[in-house]
């Protein structure tokens, strides 16, 4: 339950920061019954109280039994399995960030193609020939579909010369 404890403290810090931020909201030139800072302040207080409750639950009591009963009644989403493949997650996250950064500069088709192939390389290379074709359709195919059928111009980036 260490993660839960850290989370509860993080939320408390977040709530404090949010609440403090509410005090820095500027007064509007025109006074109103309820200024722009009132709603955030209320939320901030609620958030702080709730995160302190969260802290209390995690630090004082043993994991509560009633919570699981509640889950059985209302069918909460199933818990994730405890096994986590951090390496795959980390690589794929880096890939997503790279994809985001390259989206405009490399352009949609090239960035997507590279993201797809890199993803296939990381996750499963067994059917790479089939997947290569899928990657081309997903990148260049979708680009042309958007450009000519939906009339949306996705960024073309370094491949600009193709459309000169």
């Amino acid at each position: 339950m260490k993660a839960q404890r850290i989370a509860s403290l993080t939320f408390t810090a977040l709530a404090i920061a949010y609440l403090a931020g509410a005090f820095f909201i500027k007064e509007p030139p025109l006074r109103q019954q309820l200024g722009p800072d009132a709603f955030p302040k209320t939320i901030g207080v609620m958030m702080l109280v709730l995160s302190l409750l969260y802290v209390r639950i995690e630090f004082q009591r043993q994991p509560v039994k009633e919570d699981d009963e509640r889950a059985a009644i209302i069918g909460a989403e199933e818990k994730l399995s405890d096994y986590v493949d951090y390496k795959t997650i980390g690589i794929m996250l880096a890939l997503m960030l790279g994809y985001g950064l390259a989206f405009e500069s490399l352009g949609y088709p090239l960035a997507t193609f590279l993201m797809f192939m890199a993803g296939i390389y990381v996750l499963d290379l067994k059917h790479w020939k089939r997947d290569l074709i899928i990657a081309i359709i997903a990148s260049f195919g979708i680009y042309f579909l958007f450009r000519y059928a939906l009339r949306v111009n996705l960024p073309i980036g370094v491949l600009k010369f193709l459309f000169r």
Binding site: P28, Q33, Y83, M92, Y99, L101, F116, G119, I120, A138
Partner: protein, 504 residues
Amino acid sequence: MDIWNNIVLGFSVAVTPFNLFLAFVGVFLGTVIGVLPGIGPMTGIALLIPITFGLPPNSAIILMAGIYYGAMYGGSTTSILVNAPGESSSVVTCIDGFEMAKKGRAGPALAAAAIGSFIAGTFATIMLMILGPAIAQFALNFGPPEYFALMFAGLTVVTSLAGRSLVKALLATTIGLAISTIGIDLQSGVSRYTFGNLEMLDGLEFLVVAIGLFALSEVLANLADMRQAVMERLSIKGGLWLTKEDWKRAIPAFIRGTLSGFFVGGLAGAGAAVASFVSYGIEKSTGKHKEELGHGAIEGVAGPEAANNAAAGGAMIHLLCLGIPGSGTTAIMLGALLMLGLQPGPLLFQQQPDFVWGLIASMYIGNVMLLVLNLPLVGMWVKILDIPLYLLVLFIILFSFLGVYTVNNSVQDLLLMVGFGIIGYILRRLDIPAAPIILAMVLGDLMEQALRQSLIISDGSLGIFVTRPISLILLILAAISITNPYWGQLGAFFRRIFGQKTAA
């Protein structure tokens, strides 16, 4: 009669070739989303919102509604054949559905699910047609205080039913509300929490948060244990149709499921997942064959499947008549409609009857399409499960980026989306539900506006919320829904105190 004119108007909108096509595309994509494990209706609609940008609002909602109830249908297929619910509302269907499939009765189970969904979907649409205008008429009397109370109640009801822990669900709600305050405050022009970033002045884009929290966190969750996933799949043996005995047992369950689902899950706002559990509970306590439940009883499929579809239809009433989402999925639909420049609510019935009635008519048509699509073609849907998970993951990433980028053409949005994906995944691991965040984010702005308008009316006095009967009732409702898990404890507390007194 007025209703007939409206129905004619509705069908004249819905039966245009283009809208028929969209309804078909909607239910088709919806079924795909429902069948695919991992993508629920919320993720599905969020991912597909960008395709609706070029469409007139009318057609956009027809498409989205199709996806919504299509996903509700599709979810049952994987529950029955693979024992993997496509979304939370078909978790119960697994219990008896998979048992039936193991006994070689997958066909009747699928048929019962499809027919139950059809009956419930049609019932909910009829109720929407009958009750909708009346509710909208009633809601026309609502002023800002009533609206504030209504949104407050809606938020608490949904929150009180989300996730395992009330504290965590409420915390999620406040996070959503906090996110909604980012950006320029429209009433005073003051910027809040923007940290001098120009792109933040408009606030966080709704789609960035929704797709990050649902689609990308789903991707991360799948990646986390991808190499361990093994699925056992059963094939369909024997006929698809129900026997006479099946019908005799299923029909009462259909009716019970439809009614309980519509009123509990739909009108009361408890949502489709709760509706299916309530229905299962009813079958377990009243059914003639209750001892068979859990071992492959047809009632265990018929009831809950009817219930979750009835609830989904019922949730549309809130969205259309009051402009307030009663579930995470309808919250995303509301967000999408707001992006299209349309404000659902009671005025909609008067100002844009073609929109409302067109949607209602398309829901009838969509339900028929689904029945046709699902029963004979069930074999094809099961094949979707052959798509390797890693390709699915890559496509979700692709569509997430495509969708978010087309909203503002902003790379910053893409990076923020990845950030929310990470946050969403962490929240999942912590067992903090994400649906209340989205709901609160959509409602936050509207609530703040209503709150401030109310206080202008009352000249700053909060008493306005308790002196107006409707808003008072709604606030009491909210209080009940949030405190009810603790009633047992309170009761025990009082008993202890009073017990001691009598003893002394």
